[in-house]
């Protein structure tokens, strides 16, 4: 039993940001703004923020297949340090999470090795190859919370349409990667002045819109539940808005990198800034920040993609895409608070409440009865990130050397403290 007092409670559900107390008992939130019961451990939050733990939809863990990049253990440690209390694994492991056996293997190992909750997204098609659908029903029974092929697009509309129809019958959520592969194949930057100057093969942001249009057409045809993993450009927003307005069961996510960085950050071919989809123009970045503010984009995730030095120390076109993000998600999201004027409850809706809701998980709320998955953080604490202090096995972060504000002070999963900053300097 733990009683937090003098805490700034960030409640994304109620949209409030108030000083109060929170009692947790037997792994759940028991009472808000009540007195300290006998026998409870009183924790003085010193006016810092206490919010529901982050639910990170779309984390790549290298296990199985690339444990040298990230194991379940290191991902769990990084998540705890980053205030992420639920990791939703992406299926892009090797082998892919496309059978109940692999899913069970991952879940079992995760339970033994990680202090945070781990749930898995399963592949939509076998081997993520886009040809035959995976065993959606069996995977759902085994605990898969959503279905998608990671950053691979199912090229055949008939295959995707059938998978959507089948998934609808099960009420399963499909996570798509909206992209037109004809336009985007081989591209490593967003087409525009900057990519032209650097001589990099580039793709128009229109490829995302075309991919989204296609997926939304199939959603309208099949009635499936659909989540677009990353909507990163202005051009993709009108079809998204229209689909939601027409009552389709559609949500959209975005990585924190596309909300806080733009194409100019590539600088002199810095491969830590290579992403799928590539970083966009500043105009696009501002448009998606607005879409997040309005709630058109629902979910912020880290798109945690660990890559070792060898995969990144290559010419830009050949380098692997993606960045680690579990530990930088919260401080980077604080840029939206400090620089873009979003409120903390607004940000937490996208980090915690919306992903939990969309996946049917209980987290993301500060009400009595909700699981006591919490993060205690200081939204203002400034620091300069040194990538070698990250707990992730891979250190490929675009925020190396960046001035950030916002530090996690402690993380709690089911009421247990899984990380605390006490006694640490760096």
């Amino acid at each position: 039993m733990r009683w937090f007092h003098n805490a700034r409670l960030i409640d994304p559900d109620a949209g409030t940001d108030t000083i109060g107390t929170l009692l947790i008992r037997e792994g759940r939130i028991a009472e808000r703004d009540g007195p300290c019961p006998d026998g409870a451990e009183a924790v003085d939050a010193h006016g810092k923020c206490l919010a529901p733990g982050i639910v990170d939809l779309g984390v790549q863990v290298g296990e199985p297949g690339a444990q040298h990049k990230e194991s379940l253990r290191t991902a769990g440690l990084a998540a705890a340090k980053g205030g992420v209390t639920t990791i939703v694994m992406r299926p892009d492991t090797d082998p892919a999470i496309d059978t109940p056996e692999v899913l069970e293997y991952v879940t079992r190992r995760a339970m033994a090795r990680t202090p945070v909750n781990i749930r898995a997204m399963a592949a939509l098609t076998r081997g993520r190859a886009g040809r035959e659908m995976a065993e959606i029903g069996l995977l759902q029974d085994a605990g898969a919370v959503a279905f998608g092929d990671g950053d691979r697009v199912v090229p055949d509309t008939r295959v995707l349409g059938r998978a959507m129809t089948y998934a609808r019958g099960l009420g399963a959520l499909i996570v798509g990667h909206p992209q037109d592969i004809g336009l985007s194949t081989g591209a490593c930057a967003t087409s525009g002045k900057f990519a032209s100057l650097r001589g990099l093969p580039a793709v128009s942001p229109m490829a995302e819109r075309i991919g989204l249009d296609r997926d939304l057409g199939l959603v309208e045809m099949t009635g499936a539940r659909y989540h677009a993993d990353q909507i990163t450009c202005a051009r993709a927003l009108p079809p998204l808005e229209r689909a939601k307005g027409n009552g389709l069961d559609v949500t959209a996510g975005i990585s924190i990198h596309h909300l806080t960085l733009n194409e100019l950050d590539l600088g002199d071919f810095r491969t830590f800034f290579k992403f799928t989809p590539p970083l966009r123009s500043e105009d696009d970045r501002r448009a998606v920040v607005e879409a997040l503010r309005e709630g058109l984009i629902d979910i912020i995730c880290s798109m945690h993609s660990p890559q070792d030095e060898e995969s990144k120390r290559l010419p830009f076109e050949e380098a692997a895409a993606g960045a680690v993000g579990l530990e930088t998600l919260l401080p980077a999201a604080m840029r939206l608070y400090h620089s873009e004027g979003l409120s903390l409850p607004q940000i937490w809706r996208a980090l915690s409440l919306n992903p939990a809701r969309r996946l049917g998980l209980a987290g993301g709320r500060l009400m009595a009865g909700a699981p006591a998955d919490l993060v205690l953080f200081d939204p203002d604490a400034p620091f300069v990130l040194d990538r070698f202090t990250l707990l992730s096995k891979s250190k490929n972060t675009p925020f190396d050397g960046a001035r950030l504000q916002g530090r996690v002070l402690a993380s709690y999963v089911a009421g247990e403290c899984v990380y605390t900053r006490e006694g640490q300097d760096a």
Partner: protein, 322 residues
Amino acid sequence: MTFSQRHLLGIEPLHPLEIASILDLAEEYVALNRSAEKHAPVLEGMTQINMFFESSTRTQASFELAGKRLGADVMNMAMAQSSVTKGETLIDTALTLNAMHPDLLVVRHGRSGAVNLLAEKVNCAVLNAGDGRHEHPTQALLDALTIRRKKGRLHRLVIAICGDIAHSRVARSNLILLGKMENRVRLVGPPTLMPPQVGEFGVEVFDDMRAGLEGADVVMMLRLQRERMDGGFVPSEREYFQRYGLDAEKLAHAKPDAIVMHPGPMNRGIEIDGAIADDINRSVIQEQVEMGVAVRMACMDLLARNLRAERERARLREAADG
């Protein structure tokens, strides 16, 4: 002499005064190359390694000759046939070479930015001999020297760059250099071979070649790779030549004294009519090759000076510390 660069990775980082310094020094080397002597020992004792990950005859020969005339020990490595194909990474190759203590590393690579990456990992001067679609700085400098000698100046000229702009590092380096020197740059070519939003570079874009050549002082043709003409970017060779090949009729739209340039190797009958290429009154293609050696000598000379100065400073620091 103004030149403070450690490497020559592109035109983009250069100040106009640095460009002028290179060209001024290159003029001296043009005179030297035309004399009976042909040698200046400014790179005496230095080692120059030419690493060409893409095969090239002309550029490599030009760099080799430039190094030899300046007294460097020159080694050529044809990387296209070496351990790179056995899976060694670019960084490992760079570190291996670095252990041989070269002073000048001349690199050509098929990927944009690869030379920048390599330059971070070695402690010698690196010259970019062309990286992907990014930059080819010595080509732009030799073009600039050719223009300056023929036109008597390198500013306020109307220069039309024609052809496959999108895939051309030569075009990129040239439009940056010519823009820095305050010329009017026009890009002429089919829209499929124009980089997106290139208009924002401060250039004028034309898809009608006659309009693009109107009143031009310099017509710069680019090579079109044959594999781009089979319907991928343009429908056919003959359609391309008809619309974008330089012939007497199209050239007549330029100024009467306009010069014609080409970085070579030429596709006669595709981007340029053979008769124009051979017209000694208009074509300066042979002179470009000559300027190439002189410009590369100047670049290596300037980089070697900075390298020596840097090493001298390091030696003095060490002496002071010790």
